[in-house]
Symmetry: C2
């Protein structure tokens, strides 16, 4: 995975001073590296009968939709408030200053479906914890695993996801 | 394509009164329909040697990344101002009231690459016209085609894209 890691660029002080942002656009620009990443997740789940891959706005969509295609699964959008057109469930969560929220359509899943949640980065875990909470409190589905391209270990995002099965392709 | 069309839901008065929004989430939720849509584009381009599929934030990412994976191509993100972490080119464009802009990373493409632009809907064409302008004014690449899942013919988006090759899977 070192060549995958090499294609992720550090951008200092983005989105604000002191944050070292992991920029995945050089990785996405390479057809062979992007395919290798998606295939790594697809190989992991090819016997898991995944019905729907859930993507968290906006970079999560990139991984969720390609992985859904690779697995023959559907994909579901978790969006910021006001972006989904139909009736939604909403889950708010705490930020360092203030709150944010994620939304999902009321008819996002069918009863008993097997769900995979994917995002580019597991950082502090706030958004993905809210997403998992949103799904498990409103739908009778099984969350098979939470997947991430990268996990920033020093931010302890896993602590916000107790009991959840987590797999990250890269750790920092 | 009637079964694809049947999986797209009309949501009246979204995002504002008088707009009949085409909601693609029921289509995305179906693994078989989503695969059929992506394969329709992939079949069209499998001999076109596409290097990079360009997706426009945010729903464009869904189609661009899955199609990139299907073609073995890379994918490139066109984003709203301030979202891309590295140095960008920016293109502003006119809205009904005011202006908006799209951005792309300076190193998004290599010289001579063959590019496909995809988005979910061709409506008034403002965003995609700005995207095509952004790419052709800053990069020595070939835009092979502009692709859309849906084209809303009555909004005449094509008029903003003179001389550009356009293909839409569905017309309304």
């Amino acid at each position: 995975m070192q060549h995958i890691r090499n294609a992720i660029r550090n951008v200092p002080d983005f989105p604000k001073p002191g944050i070292d942002f992991k920029d995945i656009t050089p990785l996405l620009a390479s057809g062979s590296l992007f395919k290798e990443v998606i295939d790594a997740f697809a190989d992991r789940h090819h016997k898991n009968n995944i019905d729907v891959v859930v993507g968290i706005e906006a970079r999560g969509f990139i991984f969720a939709s390609a992985l859904a295609y690779a697995l023959g699964a559907g994909t579901c959008l978790i969006r910021k408030p006001g972006k989904l057109p139909h009736t939604v469930h909403r889950q708010t969560y705490e930020l360092e200053y203030g709150t944010d929220a994620v939304e999902i359509h009321l008819d996002a899943f069918q009863c008993g479906q097997r769900i995979l949640i994917i995002d580019d980065v597991l950082a502090t875990g706030g958004t993905v914890a809210a997403t998992a909470q949103l799904i498990s409190s409103h739908f009778d589905v099984e969350i098979v695993e939470l997947n991430f391209l990268m996990e920033l270990d020093f931010l302890n995002g896993r602590e916000k996801l107790p009991g959840q099965p987590i797999f990250s392709l890269l750790n920092y």
